[in-house]
């Protein structure tokens, strides 16, 4: 066992724990916080099913963003769709045999890597060249884009610049899953890629990346427009009802 193997194994366990635990806590915290008033942005669906569709359109198509700004939508969607495919493609490192639908997606996963990088690049360019967006950008906004872009580029480099021993990497990943550690190949790009991914997982629950779970808990999007037909009452608000 090389020191690098131990280091990355421990780092990834810690990162996965923080990500899962942090997200679970956030979701619990959002779920327990009441929404005392009906505030869906209207026109809003009048049924639960309609709300599910509304959220689905937001998650898959970025419907509201599409209405807001086409460039922003294009870059944002390209990045997220690319990322989704890339994540699916990476499942092959954690499954043996590789699930058939994952195998099916493999060829697209490579292009998705480029799409992801292109989207991120576009989003970053906006932060420099659109005065409004430059004004609101904080250092962490830039760092987050840098982090994601470096992850994408280091990943692509392993495929197109040098040849990484992916069989050994897969053995390492499966070893993590089954708590049967296998050596991590001594490859600088692999170290960079895994290190940055661990960093992303670590900051996720403490950063604006919370927009991912946040959308599902946003009352302006997830509430049913039925306020005249049902009395909506949060526990703390119910206690304020005057006693008859």
């Amino acid at each position: 066992m090389t020191p690098a193997t131990v280091l990355f194994a421990v780092l990834l366990y810690v990162a996965a724990t923080v990500l899962a635990g942090g997200l679970a806590y956030r979701i619990y915290d959002y779920a327990r916080t009441p929404a005392p008033l009906k505030i869906p942005t209207t026109p809003a669906p009048t049924t639960r099913g309609g709300v599910v569709l509304r959220l689905l359109r937001e998650v898959v198509l970025f419907e509201s963003l599409f209405r807001a700004n086409l460039w922003l939508w294009a870059f944002g969607w390209l990045f997220h769709a690319g990322l989704a495919l890339v994540l699916v493609r990476h499942l092959r490192y954690f499954t043996e045999p590789v699930w058939s639908w994952v195998a099916l997606v493999q060829p697209f996963g490579v292009y998705a890597g480029f799409a992801m990088a292109a989207g991120l690049f576009g989003l970053w360019v906006r932060r420099f060249f659109v005065a409004r967006v430059r004004y609101i950008s904080t250092p962490s906004d830039h760092l987050m884009l840098a982090l994601l872009l470096l992850i994408a580029l280091s990943g692509l480099a392993m495929k197109f610049v040098t040849r990484t021993d992916v069989v050994a990497v897969k053995a390492f990943c499966l070893g993590l899953v089954y708590f049967d550690w296998q050596p991590l190949p001594s490859d600088g790009l692999v170290f960079v890629h895994l290190g940055l991914v661990a960093a992303l997982m670590l900051v996720f629950p403490f950063s604006k990346l919370l927009h991912a779970p946040g959308l599902f808990f946003s009352p302006s999007r997830n509430q049913v427009d039925d306020s005249r037909d049902h009395r909506h009452l949060a526990p703390w608000a119910a206690r304020l009802d005057p006693k008859p």
Binding site: Y30, T42, N69, R132, S140, S218, R231, L240, P244
Partner: protein, 509 residues
């Protein structure tokens, strides 16, 4: 017109504008006096140790409102909302970009409630709650009309209105209140309505209106007050009782009730549909003000509750009355059942006056002469709270269709303003959210810019000479700011003003 206030030029090509940092930093409303503050339970002046108290209040609100917590966390600074606010468009002040306005609170939230902000404040844009920050809050949270246009375009539905309301609640809790809104809330409790019109004056006004309508039409149209046993309680903004052009719509409602043969009444106890508790983000005030309507309905024994032309009032009525006061349907608790068993469940409760009129038109219960409005070429300004925070009818989007249906039933010439400025993308009039006060006139004139641009287009292309709207604040705001853009103040009016012109009394037998 105030000489030092000037309208900005209409933009040739909307979209790209330079930022004018600090352009509106000096814009702020008068601070509420200790008397005004204490009358509604807030500290009279900025308290000692206000910083800790404000952070404490923020923590309380974060535990009570999921919207606040999620909306402060979720923003990614993408800029989708940045150019959507009418105040940003009109002032070019970057702190009027919705995301920048939110960040005034988000920066304090991050510093005091998040790990990243405690450890690396500079990195994530976290700030301590200093006096300078508080001054920025007072200035720029009083430059948001809580119209929710930004939230339409946000990929997570982040609603600046929720954040502005929380900011006002926090400022009220430490003794920094806004005079205009808080004085009005005091009045509604003390006298019964926002304009401070006492019962006898109201009765007098209404009998004057009966005489006017009799003279004009020959019909005995009644304006009943506090009549027990009436079927309908009409709750309308108090501006309808005497402000121009509001009163013309009140006459319209009365004519509709008259011709349909519906017994209705106003109430002195609830002589106000407006609810400024919304604007200051106070659940307690929202509820206290809403309960007046419940009390009046129980007292008068009415079977239906109808709301007049008022934007934020309709939001409160449609979206919140069931929650706050049990006015609606589907309540299973004794508090809600007590009123709901009295109300007629065959009708929507509460009902918007446009829903009522449209139902009557569809049933053929009204005799309307479209030609009577032939001197008018009409367009419609969707009011923000109706458009983005409520509904009419049974289908989503009914809040757009029903008012337009009524207009088209009473006029021959209707023109729609440009896409992107109507329906749920409508622009606020520039005076909502408790900003309809003279010391903010400069802001109000600038905030009206995008609506004025859209209006100018249809004036030029179709000769539009009447902009209908169903909001007391829109009517008052436009009456004031239209002249700054070279329009006549009489161009704005209510939908029921048009109905009033078209309706033929006595023609139905």
């Amino acid at each position: 017109m105030a000489a030092d206030v000037k309208a900005p030029p209409l933009r040739a090509m909307p979209g790209v504008q330079p930022l004018l940092a600090g352009a509106m930093a000096q814009s702020k409303p008068y601070v509420a006096s200790d008397k005004i503050q204490q009358a509604i339970g807030f500290p009279g002046e900025l308290v000692d140790g206000w910083q800790d108290q404000a952070i404490g209040k923020m923590g309380e609100l974060l535990g009570k409102y999921r919207s606040l917590k999620v909306h402060l966390d979720a923003c990614v600074h993408c800029g989708a909302c940045a150019d959507k606010c009418h105040y940003f468009i009109g002032t070019q002040d970057p702190l009027n970009m919705p995301v920048a306005r939110q960040d005034l609170m988000r920066s304090v939230y991050r510093r005091h409630f998040t790990l990243a902000g405690r450890l690396f404040p500079k990195l994530v844009g976290a700030r301590d709650f200093t006096r300078d920050v508080l001054d920025q809050w007072y200035s720029y949270f009083n430059q948001c009309s809580e119209c929710r246009r930004c939230s339409v375009f946000c990929p997570y539905g982040v609603d600046t209105a929720e954040i502005t309301m929380a900011a006002k609640a926090i400022m009220d809790s430490i003794g920094l209140g806004q005079k205009y809104s808080n004085e009005i809330i005091g009045k509604v409790h003390r006298i019964g309505n926002n304009l401070g019109l006492p019962g006898p004056a109201l009765a007098n006004t209404l009998s004057g209106l009966e005489e006017d309508v009799k003279e004009e039409t020959g019909a005995d149209v009644r304006f009943p007050l506090d009549e027990k046993g009436a079927e309908v309680l009409l709750v309308t903004p108090s501006a309808d009782f005497f402000a121009e052009p509001h009163v013309d719509s009140l006459i319209g409602y009365a004519k509709v009730f008259h011709q349909a043969g519906i017994r209705w009444t106003l109430s002195t106890h609830a002589s106000e549909a407006g609810n400024f508790g919304l604007f200051i983000g106070s659940y307690e005030q929202l509820q206290k003000i809403a309960l007046r309507i419940r009390e009046a309905a129980l007292d008068l024994g009415v079977r239906r509750i109808v709301v007049g032309e008022c934007g934020h009032a309709w939001r409160v009525a449609y979206s919140f009355w069931n929650t706050l006061a049990g006015i609606g349907a589907g309540g299973s608790d004794p508090f809600a059942r007590r009123l709901q068993s009295q109300l007629d469940s065959r009708y929507r409760q509460p009902m918007h006056i446009c829903e009522l009129t449209w139902d009557l038109i569809q049933r053929g219960a009204l005799v309307l002469d479209r030609d009577a409005n032939d001197h008018r070429i009409v367009t419609f300004h969707d009011s923000c709270n109706v458009a983005r925070a409520s509904r009419m009818g049974d289908r989503p989007g009914g809040q757009f269709e029903i008012p337009r249906n009524v207009i088209k039933a009473v006029t021959n010439h209707y023109v729609e303003m440009a896409r992107g400025t109507t329906h749920d993308e409508t622009f606020c009039c520039g005076g909502g959210g408790g900003l309809l006060t003279d010391e903010l006139l400069d802001l109000r004139v600038k905030g009206a810019l995008p609506r004025m641009e859209a209006l100018q287009q249809v004036v030029d292309s179709h000769g539009v000479n009447f902009m209908a709207t169903i909001c007391a604040i829109c009517k008052a705001q436009f009456s004031k700011v239209l002249p700054y853009y070279g329009f006549k103040m009489g161009m704005v009016g209510g939908i029921h003003q048009l109905v009033s012109t078209a309706i033929r009394l006595g023609a139905k037998h």
